[in-house]
């Protein structure tokens, strides 16, 4: 009898704690804000993650696109949301780009970073008949002929422009050594590369992969820490002695001042969600590379990126 009571007591206590924990967070649906339009990589990631995340947290997660202002509207909506854990969102590389921060007055400090989800590393891409066989030849050539070749990838002072600036800075060159031709986006820049309008494109690995597989273009190097599994033959810049990495990223974040306990709970939920097989399969199909970091690592990552980009702002005058 005593034993039965003991077990019952333990069960009751456990149940009570669970209820108490459950009551803290979350008890109602969570809104996941996407600052970019439907169909883009941020939106696709959020929409495929939301049902998985909802199962883990036990509450539905609603994806809401708040677009406009080149991402400013949605990022502001995340930053200004109630810090109670019911408004979270996915923030992107823009929050550390000095030009964007200056114009929108939204910076990385406005958020509680929770988990890095996706990294889209940038590649140096050239036409199939380009004179350089390796990245070393390319670097030597621009050092010998500064200003002769032209690069593109996106608008001036856009994300990939910083990828180029950082690369140039690490090999000891200035902005004008490899001038930037503005393009509307990666597709337009790649078209320009193929038609001979520019000599080199700085775009994400995924954006150029079809072109490379079709044999129209070659990767010279990746701006990653380690070799990229899908293309094991392409060297990283680090291997070549150029200490530079660059990737656009998608990061789950909450408004600043969100309770640490809530942030931790979200962190655990995201950690579990990114391992869901259906989600992983979808991300592979969409050519998006899951790159999960936990709460503390994410915070450090964001701070490091912020510093690296701010250093480049001086280069841009």
């Amino acid at each position: 009898m005593k034993r039965v009571f003991g077990i019952l007591a333990v069960v009751a206590v456990l149940a009570l704690t669970l209820v108490a924990l459950g009551q803290r967070y979350p008890v109602r649906p969570i809104t996941l804000i996407v600052p970019w339009s439907p169909g883009g990589s941020t939106d696709l990631t959020a929409r495929s993650l939301a049902p998985v995340l909802g199962n883990i947290l036990g509450q539905p997660v609603q994806v809401v696109n708040r677009t406009g202002g080149g991402g400013a509207i949605g990022h502001a909506a995340i930053a200004q949301g109630d810090p109670n854990g019911y408004t979270i969102g996915i923030i992107t590389l823009e929050v550390v780009l000095p030009a964007w921060v200056n114009q929108t007055k939204i910076n990385a400090d406005a958020f509680t970073p929770i988990a890095l989800l996706v990294l889209n590393p940038v590649a140096i891409v050239v036409r199939k008949d380009a004179p350089w066989k390796t990245a070393q030849e390319f670097i030597a050539d621009i050092k010998a002929n500064p200003g002769k070749y032209k690069a593109s990838g996106t608008a001036r002072a856009g994300s990939y422009d910083y990828a180029r600036l950082g690369f140039l800075k690490k090999i000891g060159l200035k902005d004008a050594a490899l001038p930037w031709v503005p393009a509307q986006g990666a597709a337009a820049a790649l078209q320009e590369l193929i038609s001979g309008g520019i000599n080199v494109a700085f775009v994400s690995i995924g954006e150029a992969s079809a072109l490379v597989k079709a044999g129209e273009a070659r990767y010279l190097a990746f701006m990653t820490d380690r070799r990229f599994p899908a293309f094991p033959d392409v060297p990283t810049l680090k291997e070549l002695g150029v200490d530079w990495t660059f990737a656009s990223f998608l990061m789950a974040a909450a408004p600043k001042h969100t309770l640490p306990s809530v942030a931790r709970q979200l962190d655990q939920a995201f950690a579990k969600a990114v391992q869901d097989p259906e989600f992983v399969r979808f991300m592979n199909n969409a050519n998006l590379v899951i790159n999960h970091l936990n709460f503390d690592q994410t915070k450090a990552f964001l701070a490091e990126r912020n510093r690296a980009m701010a250093e480049l702002a001086d280069e841009l005058k």
């Binding site: 609603q62 994806v63 809401v64 696109n65 005058k317």
Partner: protein
């Protein structure tokens, strides 16, 4: 032959001229490129020139023809007031959104527009209710558009 379109044509010409002028003046404040060329200001300035040329030539043609005063007499002032009230209602919707939600605001707008188009009260009300139901069923339930 009095042309009822003329007052509107005049007004659009003036708007286009004003827009062109404003674009020219504002784009003077844009930064130049590093080489000293017009950067972001180039295209708006080209447009401003085109707009000014086209609207001035049209203005000239419009004002030279006889019967301008008579064409103003054809304006339906009462209906312009109705249009003003619909637009005013639409201007107030962002304020109403927080209080009535999207569906409520849309219903009110439908009601108002129907009445201004000469509908009777009952049919306008029914129409508004039907619209709200339609949007709810199709947008929210069927297509799962987040509203």
């Amino acid at each position: 032959m009095v042309n009822p379109a003329r007052p509107f044509e005049l007004l659009v010409c003036l708007i286009a001229l004003a827009l062109g002028l404003a674009a020219w003046l504002i784009s003077d404040t844009f930064p130049r490129t590093a080489e000293g060329y017009l950067g972001p200001a180039l295209f708006p300035k080209l447009l401003a020139v085109g707009l000014a040329a086209a609207s001035l030539s049209l203005l000239y043609r419009n004002l030279r023809l006889p019967g301008l005063a008579a064409s103003f007499g054809l304006l339906a002032w009462g209906n312009l007031l109705r249009i003003g009230s619909v637009l005013l209602a639409l201007l107030l919707t962002p304020w109403a959104l927080d209080r009535l939600g999207l569906l409520g605001s849309a219903g009110l707008l439908v009601l108002l527009s129907c009445l201004l188009l000469g509908a009777r009260w009952l049919e306008a009300l029914l129409n508004a209710l039907f619209m709200v139901a339609f949007v709810y069923v199709v947008f929210v339930q069927l297509l799962k558009v987040p509203l």
